[in-house]
């Protein structure tokens, strides 16, 4: 590591580069997986243009060099990691064009690649340094700590986890749609459904056991009577249609 106040930039040797990659494993590993499944594999297929292979290689170089520059030149590291890697990946997909659509590959692999890109994006979020205390920051407003109004129910994290997994089910199924236009529409519908499910699921998980804020059970059931009756009616009609057909 460089001493503070050093005038000349440090020489990056192999050991420090490996250390930088290890320290940023939360971005490098998902990025590497995302690159392999969604950028490298389609660009290595027969019929893929050479320019797409070049941009795919540039994306890999940007991904691997970003952590090396991150500690000394953060703007360059972030520029390479976010704009360089994502930009080159996007350029690869644009250059692949029809060959990317014609050769969809394994839907599960594509879905896992999308998850890896999400993890990569989350990895670039600012994290608290090890040992840093947020209250020590100069902009903190001093005063008594704010206590939470209620403690979450012990099963709330498990409920939310279950709802989260179930909400991702349509997103994964959308990758099984073969046609491009229909697949795009299926992805849009699946993402909208996942957002709605996770939003409501978060409210369900946090409201478990909260008696003070919610009305009586009978009032809650009465409030939900109309949509419940409509969905039951629709379900019954569908069943009837299935029997008649």
């Amino acid at each position: 590591m460089t001493e503070p106040g050093a005038a000349a930039p440090p020489v990056l040797n192999g050991q420090s580069a490996l250390r930088a990659l290890r320290d940023r494993a939360n971005t490098v590993l998902p990025g590497l997986y995302a690159w392999l499944t969604t950028v490298a594999l389609p660009s290595l297929n027969h019929g893929a243009p050479g320019s797409a292979r070049v941009t795919a290689l540039c994306a890999l170089v940007a991904l691997l060099t970003a952590p090396v520059f991150l500690s000394e030149r953060p703007w360059l590291g972030r520029g390479l990691g976010i704009f360089g890697f994502i930009g080159c990946s996007l350029l690869t997909w644009v250059l692949l064009g029809a060959s990317l659509v014609k050769n969809p590959g394994d839907p599960l692999l594509s879905a896992l690649g999308a998850v890896a890109f999400t993890l990569y994006a989350l990895g670039w979020g600012s994290m608290r340094r090890r040992g840093a205390v947020p209250e020590d920051a100069p902009n903190v407003i001093l005063g008594p700590p704010l206590q939470p109004r209620a403690r979450p129910h012990p099963v709330a994290p498990f409920v939310f986890g279950l709802i989260l997994v179930s909400a991702l089910l349509p997103v994964f199924l959308a990758f099984r749609v073969p046609e491009a236009e229909r697949g795009l529409f299926a992805h849009a519908v699946a993402i909208l459904a996942a957002i709605l499910t996770i939003t409501v699921g978060a409210r369900v998980a946090t409201s478990l056991g909260q008696r003070r804020t919610l009305p009586l059970s009978s009032e809650r059931l009465n409030a939900a009577a109309v949509p419940l009756a409509l969905s039951a009616l629709l379900f019954g009609l569908g069943f009837l249609w299935l029997v008649v057909r």
Binding site: L162, L169, R182, A190, V204, S207, S218
Partner: protein, 60 residues
Amino acid sequence: MSKVVDALSILLVLGASLAFAVGVAALGEHRDLAAIYWLSIGGLVLRAAVELLRPRSSAR
């Protein structure tokens, strides 16, 4: 009773996501009417879950 309503709200959200999943699967199989049907059911069931969680009004 409130625990039963809580469990019902969890089941409704899980049921809604299942209906959405069946709807998306039907969309991929070119069964457009079935897709609209399952996505509508998912929306209605999710709406029911939201209504179960509506907080107590401040006027009371």
